[in-house]
């Protein structure tokens, strides 16, 4: 399959070959495999389609925010108005969702697309036996699948965001501030982690199911469940739990609200949206309800980066834990598996 991105290949391998010649030392199998995985993804149509989709949503979101940027930065009531680049990522006039909302449901698709046939297609093509007959560690196969795809995703997100910053500089002429840049990089890291979760889930399913279509369907099923049905189910549970009579005392209201938030945060997309919002909007002080006492005396001003990071830390930990659990399960299944075609 000849694809328009073939020139990446030369770009990647040139440096490595050069290095190999210099050091006269053989490349480690792990690097060779990761390079092949990343190269395969870059050249696959599947990735190109996802790339176009994400680039289009990014451009769309950016266009909408650019046309509203002057209004947003002029808004005196908004404490975040001085962060031009964060505003570029979060402003919307309601016609299009913002970029991080797009990613919260396109990211899973990207992860699934890159991972759903990682192991089973190799097994069905008979290349897994061939690979396993080489002197390489078995876990390296799994790890390179994950790393290769994650590298591609990281490069994609970093490119988009850096392009956005560069474009923003040319259009607005405002210099990006270090804190702002760090927040944006944090957002990128969060997005990569979020895609990484879905990637490891997809790889797990590809180890579990022999048929690539089955594993893709299972992964998409899980994704649909969390994006569409989970909210409905949580609402049903809440309406069943909530007493129907009269207004509630504030303590009860608080505990019910906490229950609702707890249930919602079981969905990875909720974790991601929470974290992205906090990182991109410095004025967000809490992700849960605040009492009047807590709010008293608070000045509506942007939080420093460290405070924002403290707020999203549980979210980061949660996503990391979920990714690790999926990967560990895949590892467990794969190491015990007998490799045969």
């Amino acid at each position: 399959m000849e694809s328009p991105l073939v020139y990446f290949k030369g770009l990647f391998s040139k440096g490595i070959m050069h290095k190999g010649l210099e050091q006269q030392k053989a490349e480690s199998p792990f690097r060779a495999m990761t390079r092949k995985e990343a190269g395969d993804h870059v050249r696959s149509w599947r990735f190109i389609v996802m790339l176009i989709l994400i680039a289009l949503t990014f451009l769309g979101a950016l266009y909408v925010s650019l046309s509203n940027i002057s209004a947003a930065t002029a808004n005196i009531n908004d404490p975040d108005r001085l962060f031009v680049y964060l505003k570029l990522l979060t402003t919307s006039d309601g016609t299009l969702p913002t970029f991080h909302v797009f990613i919260s449901f396109l990211g899973p698709l990207l992860g699934i697309a890159l991972g759903f046939d990682a192991i089973n297609s190799e097994q069905n093509n008979g290349t897994l036996t061939r690979l396993m007959a080489q002197p390489i560690y078995r876990d390296n196969v799994l790890l390179t699948k994950f790393c290769g795809a994650l590298i591609v995703v990281s490069v994609l997100f970093l490119c988009l965001v850096l392009l956005m910053i560069g474009g923003g500089m040319m259009i607005t002429g405002v210099l990006v501030e270090p804190g702002e840049l760090l927040r944006i990089l944090g957002f990128v890291a969060m997005s990569i982690l979020y895609v990484g979760f879905w990637l490891s889930l997809a790889i797990l399913l590809s180890v579990r199911f022999r048929n690539a279509a089955t594993s893709a369907l299972a992964a998409i099923g899980i994704w649909l469940f969390f994006t569409v049905f989970y909210r409905i189910i949580v609402n049903l549970i809440m309406s069943a739990v909530l007493p129907s009579s009269g207004p509630l005392p504030p303590e009860d209201l608080l505990s019910y609200n906490n229950l609702l938030l707890f249930l919602l945060r079981l969905a990875p997309s909720q974790l991601y949206t929470d974290a992205a919002t906090t990182l991109l909007m410095p004025s967000v002080r809490s992700l849960g309800p605040l009492t009047m006492e807590q709010m008293a005396g608070a000045i509506p001003s942007p939080l420093p980066l460290k405070e924002s990071l403290m707020i999203v830390w549980p979210q980061v930990t949660g996503l990391l834990a979920a990714t690790t659990v999926c990967f560990a399960l895949a590892y467990y299944l794969f190491m015990r598996r007998e490799i045969r075609t």
Binding site: P29, T127, T129, P135
Partner: protein, 338 residues
Amino acid sequence: MENPIIELEGLTKSYGSAKAVDNLSLKISRGEIFGLLGPNGAGKTTTILMMLGLTEPTAGLARVCGVDASSNPIAVKRKLGYMPDSMGFYDDMTALENLMYIGRLNRIEEHELITRAHKTMEIVGLGEEMHKKTSAYSRGMKQRLGLADVLIREPEIIILDEPTLGIDPSGIKEFLSLIRRLSKQQGLTVLLSSHHLHQVQQVCDRVGIFVGGRLLVEGDMETLSRNLFGEESYVLQISFREPAPPSGEHIEALKALDVVKQITIDKNLVEVSCSEDITPDVVRLFVQKGLNITGVRKKEFGLDEIYHRYFETNQKNNISNGKSAGLFQRSFFKRNNA
């Protein structure tokens, strides 16, 4: 046998209650071509996977080049090239790229890799087609590429699992003679598994017959046929011009020789089974009696016969052991009585 390069000791693999490989012990010495023969599902592939350390044995030990395969598979895989029965290649890469990828996984240095890959492709006869995508390769070409895959690593041992599967007869002959040549030139040890007996017969120094997870016999072809067919290991087929069978007189004269075990006469063809090679005596006898011999053929037992013999006994045992249908049992007993 000194210093066996492959050593299996009481190797056993069970799946639940079923035993795929049952207490297998085998030694293969350096530079030998060993044929592992057996019907489908005899446990050949399982045995090979255990040698590679890809499957954990339930009991026993597989030692390759003195290294325990199940505890140190990486060291074993460095010395051992394995070609699985159904090879797959990355279809969107060319054959050369596929080969170079394998080379990289084996830590072949980058500047040496390209020359080595070209050389290997020439050896297996794919020099012309090395820049084609493997998706355009025929089955036979893929098999050759599989061999190149194994050879580029310069292993000490090559294990080929059903290497002749799906190639046409002339291709098989070429492929096997290539293996034989390489083995002799480079002193490689080759382990070949197959269920195509006469093909393996052409190249193997030694064979082992493997049925139902057990190694029934091993040895070179001659010993094998002697063990199996015992007394009647030589069979002469003599054909005559006259359609009428030779008269009783000659037969009596033949039967007088004590090495002759059995004589069957079918029109103008006489088959003499004997325990020693007495071809000249038999021919002289017929010529003296004034019979016109048109052909004399010494029938040698190939693996096919050996295999059938074993398979037959195996099946008989199965039938007598198992609770098979009455019809089978009756016919079995009838044959026994006759």
